[in-house]
Structure formats: C-alpha cells, structure tokens
Amino acid sequence: MVDQVIDMLSDGSSLNLGIGIPTLVAQRIPPEKGIWIHSENGVLGVAGRPTPQSVSATLINAGKETISVKKGASFFDSAMSFGMIRGGHIDVCVLGGMQVDAEGSLANWMIPGKKVTGMGGAMDLVHGAKLVIVMLTHFSKRGEVKLMHRCTLPLTGKGVVHKVVTDLGVFTPKGESFQVEKLAPGVTESQLGMPDGLLVSL
C-alpha cells in the first residue's frame, strides 16, 4: 500500500500526508528521492522522528506527533501553509478516508449521529494538489467495501480524488466506475467485493 503511493512520487516533489494511515508513507520514502514533506500545521521538509535528546514540544506534524526536519526545511503560518496547497504548489496529497466513490468524491470527516471529528484541513487539502491520493483499507471493520458508486456519508470534497490505494489494489475513479490500475499480489477482482459495473478491469 505504502509502496504503491511511493511509486507515484516523482523525485524532488512536494507531498502532504494526512493524519492516520498516510503518515506511514513518511517512514518508507527513500531519502535519495529528495521528497519534501509538507505538514499543514506549518512546516515543509519533515524528516524522521526526533531522538529523546532532540525532541521539541514546538516541532510536530498535523497529527500532533513529534517530528524532526531536514536541511532546507521552513516554517510558516497556517494561511501560507494552506495557500501552498490551495495554490497548487504541493504536488501530491495523500489522505485517509471512510468512503470514496467513482465520481472521485471523498468522505472522511463525520458519521452523522455517531462520530464527528471535524474536517480539520481535509476539505482544503483535497483542492489544489496536482495528485490527490486516498489511502484506505478496502473493507471497513464491518466488512463493507469503502469504494462505492456514490458516498453515503457527508462529503469532504466532490470530484477531487485522482487515485485510490487500498490494501487490495490501486484504482482510478472514472465517474461511473473505478478503473483497476493494479492488484496486490494474489488478489483477484472477485475479492474486491465491488458490484458488476463499478469496476473496469485491468
């Protein structure tokens, strides 16, 4: 899953990683790719984790986790940080999700009557990046497939997602269906749990 995302990154590109699963990507990017990781709380150039000696209470990512930065990093305020995204200067944005649909819409900020986390920066992050990737487990804990014809939960953004990466494969929303781009080793289309017509074969 993580490797599929890393494959989509050009050398030297800028990348925003959402809270949750996407943060796993950070740890696996080969340093020689020269990727610049942006975190919307106001930093460009996130590196690994700090040591207990170097840790700083004022150096965190958007998930509120302690981080370190690489040479050439910069800090800025939140208006500048979201302007970078909105203005199209961040090449790739990877977000987690609860549902994603064939129209390229994403739902990841609330389940009516059950859970409200708030949209945080997600509603901004889905607009502007040249490549918006949603990274999620293919099935929910209750076994429901998260890739659907139209999201049933409140949207984070409408028609904004370019690629969907799950533990079972890589998919492109095409409007009325998902194009299968890649399947995980050993996975067949019948295991994807998606109705006929929602899937365009490899």
């Binding site: 975190s39 004022t58 302690t66 208006a79 909105r86 920066g121």
Partner: protein
C-alpha cells in the same frame, strides 16, 4: 507614552468580561497561550465564544475552560483528540461551528488585512456549502467572510516591548493571523527581549498588531504524542 508591557496575565487580562469572543493560538497543544488561558479560568469568565483550531486537546489548553463550562460557543476545525469538547457537543452544552482549516486561517487573515470576503474551493459540494453563496471560477467556490474577535490570546517565543514577535518551529500556526484579526491582542512570550533584538527582517509579526505583551512563566509545553526515532 503608554507602554504595551504588562506585568503578567492578571494585569494584561484586566478587561476581559463574560460573553466576549476570544481567538486562541496554537495547533493542538503546540504554541498555546497557557498563562492567559489559566488566567481566564481563574477569573471565572463565562459564556465565552472561543475561536481556536482545536479548543484545547487532551484535556489541556482551552479544555481547562471546557471543564469549567466557561465556553458556550466554539468555532474550530477539528474536534478529534478533545474528549471534553466531544462530550459537551453530544450533550448539546456547547454550540460548535466547524470550519475547514484553510478557510479558518484565511478568514482570520482576511479580518486582519481588511479583506471583506474571498472565494475558495474548500467545502464546495459539501454540507459546509449550505447557506453560503457559491460561484464558479475555474472551479466552484464559496464566498467566505472575515472572522474577527474581541480578543486574541497568543504565545510567541520572543517578543519586544513594541510587540514585534518571533515564533519557534511549528508553534507559529494561527497565532500571527489571530494577532492581526482581533480588536485587542494579548501576547505572552517565553522571552521578552529588548527592542531591536529581533532582526527587522526576521520579525514574524510587526508590533503594530499587538496591544499588550507580558513575560509568561511556568510553561508546561506538553507534548501530546511523543514518537521517537528509536521506536520506529
């Protein structure tokens, strides 16, 4: 000439009253104005409208005021990680307005910079668009209006007597924007430095936006989620 320098939080917050709106800087617990928040708790000010990205987190920061039921209205972008806020939301004890974080920052900047409204794609086609004017440029956008407040309480690493500020690492976040947007901006600093000590080019927020400044103390600077290299 009247000085902007106050002795402490108690002196600087002398005119804060029930029912005011207060912007509070910080992302999670990073860069929050601890001294001013604790003083508001001590003063027992009620019925606050808090404008802050998280309204505290992990039981700290503005959550100190949530616990005392001092906040009746909140404007923020994220509730996750703040059980005190979630609980009061579900119990309908607090009125929460959720704003996408980029729109939140830009609305605060707009208030500070005298911009009367702007168009952004964030939120279009979602529930957030309800009741808002929308308009299509290259993409569908929403008209968003400035967000201001009676007070801003913010924290900086360094500040001088005129109010020129310098922020450390990611502690900057919403703080300089809120300082520009509020009617009265009250700053607490880790280091109150001499005029001229911050190089003029490196001033993050010019002092003209600051009304009061004081040297803070006893900072907790809590780390919410410490993760270290060794633990990878």
């Amino acid at each position: 000439m009247t000085s902007k320098v106050f002795k402490d939080a108690k002196a600087a917050l002398f005119d804060m009253r029930d029912g005011v709106s207060v912007m509070s800087g910080g992302f999670g617990l990073c860069g929050i104005p601890e001294n001013s928040i604790l003083e508001i708790r001590r003063l027992g000010i009620k019925n606050l409208h808090a404008i802050s990205n998280n309204i505290g987190n992990s039981g700290r920061g503005l959550a100190w005021l949530l616990k005392e039921k001092q906040i009746s209205q909140a404007t923020c972008s994220y509730v996750g990680g703040n059980p005190d806020l979630e609980e009061q939301m579900l119990a309908n004890e607090i009125e929460v307005t959720l704003v996408p974080q980029g729109t939140f920052s830009e609305r605060i900047r707009a208030a500070g910079m005298g911009i009367r409204g702007f168009y952004t794609p964030a939120g279009s086609g979602t529930e957030i668009a309800e009741g808002k004017e929308s308009r299509t440029f290259d993409v569908p956008c929403l008209l968003e209006l400035p967000l201001t407040a009676d007070f801003a309480i913010i924290k900086a690493q360094k500040g001088d007597p005129y109010g020129n500020l310098w922020f450390k690492e990611t502690a900057r976040n919403f703080s300089p924007l809120m300082a520009m947007a509020a009617k009265v901006t009250i700053v607490e600093v880790e280091e109150l430095v001499e005029l001229g000590e911050i190089l003029p080019e490196n001033v993050h927020l010019p002092g003209v936006f600051v009304q009061r400044i004081y040297q803070g103390n006893d900072y907790e600077n809590t780390i919410e989620i410490p993760i270290f290299e060794d633990e990878k």
